[in-house]
Symmetry: C2
Subunit: 421 residues, 2 copies
């Protein structure tokens, strides 16, 4: 069975000039992928009638579905709506009563007068169906084309550009697609690794990857902060069957990955630490020098982290290392501020200060500095816990911001390995 | 003079299936806009040879410049490179010695073996020029076409997909464009504000904005974390003349903005605090509860922050607030953990602990919780310094992550206003 395909188009100068990053397309593609529709292209078009018509026509020729967002709004909807009317050979506009009510409701709730310019947003080409946008004033328009126009049946969905409204309408759009297309099943599974480079990972799992059946595809998505994410995709066939077969393949992959593997869902290192600690009564704390609060920040972005995260000290100056964390001045003097001994003393200090089960500490040179002991880009990570205190050195060659992020990721992973031991 | 135009293409399934959001295109468009090149389209293409060739050919036909990112990497570069070789009628591959050295340097620094799969990244079609990618292993390839191929001279730049590497190479790409095209002059000036909404700001400066000459354009770029950024753009004319005229307009705008204005360059709130403190001998510290280290993290991303940032305590548990920061248990009991009194006590506590000139503290409810004193989304910010201790309440309606970021921005701005007084 041929796979149903889609193209996602954003309309609007604000994306083209780089003023805003397009996040709608990614969310729409995920929603389509989940029901077995493959996105073949994403396109951003200027607010220009001729560009909109020619681009949408081209996308409809080569895809079953086109989802476009943007180009609608009280001050600029005319261009896009006009282009859609022209493309669909509409004979005029009609006012949609359901959307008109929503406009009244929304503006009254904000204490605003309902102007004629607002009500005109409920006017749509008579060639379309409407899905009411409950969260905003511009309706979702659905244009259906039989195979006489593009050589195959095609549907165009026009959604508002505001992400909150576009994503709010997405459920109705997905339902409409499911009602009008016979879809292939699809299965994706994400495998998160940390501590191994893409090329080495590829070598490590080559025998397994080479033996994958033809309908399974593996993608490598490297990210210096979360590690290499692997994604196994299976298209077509019976839904339960492909899921069962994919899961069997992942079972076989797990032992090859060993402790590089940290999650079989789309989780982060800090989320994984949360998973290890939550419900166990165990707690953690951190002492940060060069990472300056980034580790504590990442830990506390996880909902429910207050259950196991007690607190953290960012000791940027040597005085705070001594006075708050109790690091011995001689240790700093003898081994250098960036050293195994100081990282371990910081970890032990904050663990004692907060009474946590585990602690993690960092001391390093994030940028151009460095000293006679260690060069720039070096971090020493200390971890302390019931099995004693350990430390490890990492070195990176980024700029200040990048190094801080990598130091934090390395520290989180070192802590994860200690806890999971 | 006809304006030079560009199309920006991203290559890779990870964007098409919605696994990652494309941030490169936006950054590239901004950089092109800054030198007077207008982006007419953005396109995302699958990792498929035929799609890559047909899409790039189409974009080159209608634009002077095509910048593509992605589709390069040790495990998958063959498809994109092969497509580019075909498109540019290359007769074979050559190994680029400069990029080869970078590969050796980067992998050795990470303690990794240099595999053949790594070195092959330095192989490029003989039809291209190379801009060395100093931050990663895949080189930037430049393909120049005379007007015989697409009816006009055209250039295709192929950049790696990793944002850090793509943006790192962007400066060299921009220089290459400036050397090969005669561009219209253009002048942009950024004005950073915080603490005023876009619509209110628009009303405040309406008389000034309405009186702007026809060749000047003002854009509003609202961002909940850095405030509303204004960008004044002037296109065409003599470069020195447009700069002088734009600067005169900004001089007139400054008094209207008052203390909302925090920077006339593309600076952040934390960068502005650094500017206020550096070289004065004054220092700062923070005590964070709900922001969990985010403020310290932002402060320490500023190069040179170790000169004025002494340290920080993240006191996530009430015990750490008491034992480390010396907040009185009765204060917490009587006023609630999220209160003016606790915020001020935390600020005073960390200022005493570190001996800093200034301190800033946060206590709030970042997500679904809240108590009988304050609802979810509330933060109390305390600031302490030579002129005493003050506090202020802010309330937001975001999710956990968003609220944490807004709390941190509000706290930084409150500190900025105190220091600048």
């Amino acid at each position: 069975m041929k796979q149903t395909t889609a193209s996602i188009c954003t309309i609007g100068d604000e994306i083209l000039i780089g003023q805003i990053v397009d996040t709608n397309s990614s969310a729409i593609s995920q929603a389509l992928g989940a029901i077995g529709v493959r996105t073949t292209r994403m396109v951003s078009i200027a607010d220009k009638r001729s560009d909109i018509i020619s681009s949408l026509r081209k996308e409809l020729k080569t895809n079953d579905i086109v989802v476009c967002t943007g180009g609608l709004g009280p001050t600029k909807d005319d261009i896009t709506k006009d282009a859609l009317a022209k493309l669909s050979a509409s004979t005029g506009y009609v006012r949609h009563k359901g959307q008109e009510s929503v406009i009244h409701r929304i503006l009254s709730a904000r204490g605003l007068d309902v102007l004629d310019i607002n009500l005109r947003q409920a006017d749509v080409p008579d060639s379309c169906e409407v899905i009411i946008n409950k969260l905003g004033t511009a309706p979702v328009m659905v244009f259906r084309f039989d195979d006489s126009k593009f050589g195959h049946p095609a549907v165009l969905y026009s959604l508002p550009g505001v992400p909150y409204e576009a994503l709010g309408a997405l459920g109705d759009v997905v339902d409409d697609i499911k009602n009008h297309f016979i879809l292939n099943s699809i299965y994706h599974k994400t495998i998160m690794t940390y501590g191994i480079a893409e090329s080495a990972l590829s070598e490590l799992i080559a025998p397994w990857e080479d033996a994958l059946p033809a309908d399974m595809h593996l993608a490598y998505l490297p990210n210096p902060l979360t590690g290499v994410r692997l994604r196994l995709s299976v298209y077509g066939g019976d839904a339960e069957d492909i899921q069962r077969r994919a899961e069997a393949q992942i079972k076989a992959l797990e032992p090859l990955l060993g402790s590089y593997l940290y999650s079989l869902s789309d989780d982060t290192l800090e989320g994984t630490i949360g998973r290890l600690l939550r419900g166990t009564g165990q707690t953690m704390s951190c002492a940060e020098s060069c990472t300056g609060g980034e580790i504590a920040h990442l830990i506390t972005t996880v909902p429910g982290s207050s259950e196991y995260f007690l607190g953290s000290v960012t000791s940027y100056s040597p005085e705070v290392k001594k006075s708050v964390l109790g690091v011995d001045g001689n240790t700093i003097e003898n081994y250098g501020i960036v050293s195994s001994a100081v990282a371990e003393a910081m970890a032990e200090g904050v663990r004692k200060l907060t009474g946590s089960t585990y602690s993690v500490a960092t001391t390093g040179w994030a940028d151009a500095y460095g000293d006679e002991h260690e060069p720039a880009g070096t971090v020493w990570v200390g971890v302390s816990g019931p099995r004693g205190t350990v430390s490890k050195r990492f070195n990176y060659k980024g700029d200040r911001k990048r190094n801080i992020e990598r130091f934090a990721a390395s520290a989180l992973n070192f802590l994860r390995l200690y806890i999971a031991q």
